[in-house]
Amino acid sequence: MQPFRQVTGLVVPLDRANVDTDAIIPKQFLKSIKRSGFGPNLFDEWRYLDIGQPGMDNATRPLNPDFVLNQPRYKGATILLARRNFGCGSSREHAPWALADYGFRAIIAPSYADIFHNNSYKNGLLPVILPESAVDRLFHEAAAFPGFTLTIDLEAQRVHSANGNVGYDFDVDPFRKHCLVNGLDDIGLTLAHADDIRAFEERHFREQPWLA
């Protein structure tokens, strides 16, 4: 996994609450058996005017000019600004895969659905939580200043704008931070405790043999 220390990038504001995983990546694209290639279909139903199907040439599809990701000023954005309960709905990891494949490195929102939040970390996508008032302010800034850029410093746990207008500290779980900053693979970390797992199993199945 790519280590995440600091990211500076253009911010795209997606002004909707409760953006669900079906909106992030519609289910017709879940049939792939790969992890990559979902970026062109991120927010498919909002982004294109036609109905997307796997195997289409996305470059020739009609874009919805009103959708924020299609506006030229937000081209190349790597930070997604969103409203509360982002990523609600299914457990499918395709949602963070699609966001990361599109090029996003971080999301900023007042809250996330639990599973999405968890999945994001595992894919090197940082889900920053800021208070509603701070997120509001960032929406204003992003609208007011074309090219509005933020720096997210995970090590210092701070978000600040390049123009110096805003800066906020954020909380992050120390273990997740450690894994993200060092690009550590969870499985490797867990397997270091293989003896503990075996000892647990021995006791567990002795106490509840019907589970063995």
Binding site: K31, R84, R92, E93, N118, I187
Partner: protein, 470 residues
């Protein structure tokens, strides 16, 4: 450790392999349910890292999300769906499982239906699956929750998950549901009250007389919808209803093991005086049949109500959400719910496709006809075993005589990954769990209801209060 513990505490603590000082724990997983959509990348990851599955006996697998519900003899026509299902076949063949119910197997079905009915879900277990509705299994006093594909790979490789304890919430239900009101209505009423993020960060235990009075099917429906309230896990304490349901199931313990297991299961409840971080009290008497009007399960009203008016909503984000939902749903504010006409009816999904659900729907359909304005009314049993049971009881005839289509088991139009879907603008009464934009097909409009309400809507062509009409 506090003396009085919640059920959640008991389940979590008894599966903790090790814990860091900040509470980050390695949680042991007893049952890993696997299906075709969220597992291929996990198996691929395992292979790429040259790792072996830790304990294949924990795995129970099936193909459900994109299997067709008609013309089974023709196989899976869509090549991409077929690849996914075949990839699962290959992965299970290569590495093994405790049980596998492939496409067209007699016991194939929706993963959250086949687990309990085969006794693969037992009280006191930790149960995970790469699917958010894994919360369903919590009905058996399990700690059951959905995980992403990276976590599927983690469980395959280590039999553990990295987890931190959630906060705990008790939803206490007093009294019993009235006739014609079901666990689905209770679930929707709770979500209407606490919102789709009301349970975020919590594990919910459903308790009280209203829950004790529910069948296992009803409890599963309720726990299934816990995720729609934002909670990763929902659970119900074990009691006689749980034990009676499990007796004699194929993978349930037998003989002396059974007696020992039952004795242990009887300890799986919250102790008197256990602390919950939040408590919600619901009076089951007050719950009436519910219908969602919008694009989130919290956008729900009683059937005798009306579509709400955004002009009366003060919060601007909410108002905007309501306006967008009404536009998507093609509804005018203040429309009576019973004036909403339906194009399609879907009875199925892991929320409501078990035998009791089909019996309820059949009781309404018996001797009646689907309204001519309804284009398709379909019944999709949750599993091959549910289908066989329903046919043994003659329910298939009741449905077919009334003009319903009787399909093969699977997820079907719950998420429309196979051919069963809504066309743009079509309006559906659905017994599934999500009414998000495009969930049942791009542009499709979903109203979530109970099986009885869906069957009644099929007969009249519009929503009716099932308590009064039949």
């Amino acid at each position: 450790m506090p003396l009085a513990r919640t059920l959640y505490d008991k389940l979590f603590d008894s599966h903790t392999v090790r814990a860091e000082s900040d509470g980050t724990s390695l949680l042991y997983i007893d049952r890993h349910l696997v299906h075709e959509v969220t597992s291929p990348q996990a198996y691929e990851g395992l292979r790429l890292a040259a790792r072996k599955p830790w304990r294949t006996r924990s795995i129970v697998a099936t193909a459900d999300h994109n299997t067709p519900t008609t013309h089974w003899h023709e196989g899976i026509r869509d090549p991409i769906s077929r690849t996914q299902v075949e990839t699962l076949d290959d992965n299970i063949r290569a590495t093994g499982a405790r049980a596998y119910f492939p496409f067209r197997d007699r016991r194939q079905g929706i993963v959250h239906v086949i687990g309990p009915e085969n006794g693969a879900t037992l009280p006191g277990m930790t149960v995970v699956c790469g699917d958010s509705h894994t919360s369903t299994h919590g009905a058996f006093a399990c700690l059951a929750f959905g995980i992403g594909t990276s976590e599927v790979e983690h469980v395959l490789a280590t039999q553990c998950l990295i987890a931190k304890k959630s906060k705990s919430m008790l939803v206490h239900v007093d009294n019993r549901l009235s006739r014609g009101v079901t666990a689905k209505d209770l679930a929707l009423a709770i979500i209407g009250r606490i919102g789709t993020a009301g349970g975020t960060g919590y594990a919910i235990e459903f308790g009280g007389p209203g829950i004790r009075a529910l069948s296992m099917e009803g409890r599963m429906t309720l726990c299934n919808m816990a995720i729609e309230a934002g909670a990763r896990a929902g659970m119900v304490a074990a009691d006689d209803v749980t034990v009676d349901y499990l007796r004699g199931r194929p993978l349930a313990p037998t003989g002396a093991d059974w007696d020992r297991a039952v004795a242990h299961w009887r300890t799986l409840h919250s102790d008197a005086g256990a602390h919950f971080d939040a408590t919600v009290v619901v009076d089951a008497h007050e719950v009436v049949p519910q219908v969602t009007w919008g694009t989130s399960p919290e956008m729900v009203v009683p059937v005798e109500g009306r579509v709400p008016d955004p002009d009366r909503e003060k919060d601007p984000t909410r108002r905007e959400g309501m306006e967008r939902a009404l536009k998507y749903m093609g509804l005018e504010p203040n429309t009576a719910i019973t004036d909403i006409r339906l194009d399609k009816i879907f009875i199925g999904s892991c929320t409501n496709s078990r035998i009791e659900d089909l019996r309820m729907a059949a009781a309404i359909a018996r001797g009646r006809r689907v309204a001519p304005t309804v284009r398709v009314a379909m019944v999709v049993p949750g599993s091959g075993l549910v289908k066989a049971q329903a046919e043994a009881e003659g329910l298939d005839r009741v449905f077919k005589d009334a003009g319903f289509e009787w399909r093969e088991p699977g997820c079907s139009m719950c998420l429309a990954m196979n051919d069963d879907r809504l066309e743009p603008g079509e309006r559906c009464a659905s017994t599934s769990n999500r009414n998000f934009e495009g969930r049942q097909g791009a542009g499709g409009r979903t109203h979530l209801v109970s099986p009885a309400m869906a069957a009644a809507a099929a007969i009249t062509g519009h929503f009716v209060d099932v308590r009064r009409q039949f």
